[in-house]
């Protein structure tokens, strides 16, 4: 062997950095920005595609937040729509009333309000039993809907409400459509990195322990109420932030967007992909929210029958829950296993089982 044949340490270092767990998330964020640039400077991508992408990214934030509840704490909630709507309405109200207000201040207000409401509702319902969270949040969602409909001075009632103008993030810097898109991409990337850290930390493990065995978790010093509440608050925060970001992009919202159907769709998005995998959730969100506006809008039959896709999603959701808890991510995994198995079977057939 030749002793002095060495690999360039720089190359090795770059290879190592690009394999860092954060790297894929950052690539994803950059890829969305590249799509935006393609739309701005080439005719390859349509204007509406980028709009749909931005919305889907916001919904992905909601779904990733929801995975704390579903995948880690083993709970479900139907209040998602209410909190996304809350984020949207607070944002539009602040930006319309105090035009030129710093957006991060608005977001802080959104955060504080949603955390307070989440704490109250979560504390009361989670003290009883895990499955009561869904019931009380269903009630909350209904109440939010009534408020969005009836508090016309704040919400514009059933006609919805909107604001005009740009979004100020720092004094002197305001964002147009493209700027907001990039902001959403940055938020999405930062939040999935945060999620990745948290689910691999003691907190994520404690939640998983709780989901698998409440008694073991308690015996190991994990307070059920604390971690269930934490999961719910995190889901709430993600939902409210996503609602706020969505508002800065759409600049319009109405109560009809925030019914229980939205909550169910988020649940479906989370479950379809696989509740514990960030990429799985992205795929799920894409199927539930992104597929139609991004690609299928040109197919007349589907445009005229929007129920078809939703029904299919519902049926698949039930099947996933009944037989295939890992969702699409597990499916990919199983396909890979199946293909490998087939290949090795073929090799065996051709060359025989025994060695030499």
């Amino acid at each position: 062997m030749i002793k002095n044949k060495m690999k360039n340490p720089l190359v090795a270092k770059i290879a190592k950095v690009s394999k860092h767990p954060y790297a894929t998330f950052i690539y994803f964020g950059l890829a969305t920005v590249v799509l935006l640039l393609l739309q701005m400077f080439t005719p390859l991508i349509k204007y509406s595609f980028v709009g749909a992408l931005a919305q889907t990214m916001c919904y992905a934030i909601v779904a990733v937040g929801f995975s704390y509840l579903l995948g880690y704490a083993g709970l479900s909630s139907l209040g998602t729509a209410g909190f996304v709507g809350l984020g949207s309405y607070i944002t539009v109200y602040m930006l319309r009333t105090y035009s030129g207000m710093n957006y991060f201040v608005v977001m802080l207000i959104v955060l504080v309000v949603s955390i307070i409401i989440g704490l109250i509702v979560g504390f009361i319902s989670l003290r009883i039993e895990g499955i009561f969270l869904a019931i009380v949040t269903l009630g909350l969602s209904e109440v939010f809907y009534q408020v969005f409909m009836n508090a016309t001075e704040f919400t514009g009632g059933s006609n919805g409400t909107s604001f005009t103008g740009e979004v100020n993030i720092f004094p002197g810097i305001s964002l147009g459509r493209e700027g907001v898109f990039i902001m959403i991409a940055v938020f999405l990337t930062a939040m999935i990195i945060m999620t990745f850290n948290l689910v691999n930390s003691p907190t994520g493990r404690a939640m998983l322990a709780m989901k698998n065995s409440t008694s073991a978790a308690q015996a190991m010093g994990i307070s059920l109420l604390k971690y269930r509440l934490l999961a719910f608050i995190l889901a709430t925060i993600y939902a409210a932030i996503a609602g706020s970001l969505l508002m800065t992009f759409n600049k319009y919202t109405d109560p009809k967007s925030w019914t229980i159907m939205f909550s169910l769709n988020i649940l479906a998005a989370c479950l379809l992909g696989g509740t514990r995998s960030i990429w799985g959730i992205f795929i799920g969100t894409f199927f539930v929210f992104g597929l139609t506006p991004m690609f299928l809008n040109d197919i007349v039959f589907l445009r005229n029958n929007p129920w078809l896709l939703s029904t299919i999603i519902g049926v698949v959701l039930i099947l996933v829950l009944m037989f295939y808890k890992g969702g699409l991510m597990q499916l990919l995994h199983d396909i890979k296993k199946f293909v490998n198995n087939k290949i090795s079977k073929r090799r065996e057939f051709k060359y025989g089982k025994d060695e030499i």
């Binding site: 509702v121 009361i124 319902s125 009534q146 049926v315």
Partner: protein
């Protein structure tokens, strides 16, 4: 508030009480036998209501016959869902069953307007039940009670009375009570829990269908959303450890809403929700619930 307004508000709540009691009872029945909460119940009821409307309003069949047909449909749907979906899942826990019913809700809400393409027709109650009201004097105050509401209350009392009697006196009722206290033991004692739970799902669906049909509104897939939501809240409020307590919750909720609506109609439901939360905070196991000890 004068006495007349007070009494009238209570009488006005009767229809809500009847409807929510019907919805609530189904929820608690399923919770006690299958240990899960059925979020698709409103959707099943809506389906039944559409069937009843199809026969009663569009085909012009007798109103009561069409109502029974609607109930039968929901009954069948309940049996099918319990037998072919809820029971068939591979190691599904309570939260998983709960999510399955959410999936069912998604499917039903999307598929109902496709099967029945009659969007602008009102429920049988609005169309054909008696109009006018029953006027009487109570404690020197003139009160009117719409016949519409009276029929709803009568229906609810008769149906719930029948089901309670069945629970108390029939073999099925004994089975339900046994399953509710401990499913495994009940199974070992020879109770056919499959039949028990299937019947519970069926009866829950049928009762909720009556609630849906007695609603005065334009038909739409989400029409039972509110009734179901308040049914759930009534369950939590009353406590799920007995069959009668949730009904008391279902009485409290519409009364609170109607009284709050006297002062502010826009925020009445928010006020109701806050009051319910406060009551649950004070009594986490429900107003009449018992503490539940989990076996480790």
């Amino acid at each position: 508030m004068d006495l007349g307004l007070f009494l009238q508000t209570i009488v006005n709540s009767f229809q809500g009480i009847a409807m929510y009691s019907l919805a609530t009872f189904g929820i608690v029945l399923i919770f006690r036998t299958s240990a899960t909460t059925n979020f698709a119940q409103g959707a099943i009821a809506t389906f039944g209501c559409y069937v009843a409307t199809q026969f009663g309003v569009i085909n012009g069949m007798n109103l009561w016959v069409s109502l029974v047909l609607g109930m039968l449909t929901a009954f069948a749907l309940g049996v099918i869902i319990d037998n072919f979906i809820i029971r068939r899942g591979k190691d599904v826990n309570a939260a998983g069953k709960q999510m399955i019913t959410m999936g069912l809700l998604l499917v039903f809400t999307n598929i109902i307007p496709v099967i029945f393409s009659m969007i602008t027709i009102t429920t049988p109650a609005t169309k054909n039940f008696a109009t006018g009201s029953f006027n009487f004097t109570l404690l020197g105050q003139d009160i009117y009670w719409p016949y519409q509401s009276m029929i709803c209350v009568l229906l609810a009392v008769v149906l719930l009375g029948a089901v309670f009697a069945a629970l108390k006196f029939t073999k099925w009722g004994l089975g339900v009570r046994a399953t509710a206290s401990n499913e495994t033991v009940a199974k070992m004692m020879g109770v056919n829990t499959k039949v028990i739970t299937a019947l519970s799902w069926a009866i829950a669906g049928a009762l909720a269908t009556v609630a849906a049909c007695s609603m005065q509104t334009v038909l739409n897939p989400a029409m039972m959303g509110k009734a179901q939501t308040y049914g759930f809240l009534a369950c939590v409020l009353g406590g799920l450890s007995s069959f009668i307590a949730p009904i008391i919750g279902a009485i409290i909720i519409p009364v609170v809403i109607n009284f709050a609506a006297i002062y502010t109609s826009a925020w009445a439901e928010l006020i109701m929700f806050c009051i319910v939360l406060l009551l649950i905070l004070i009594r986490p196991n429900g107003l009449f619930g018992k503490k539940f000890i989990k076996k480790v």
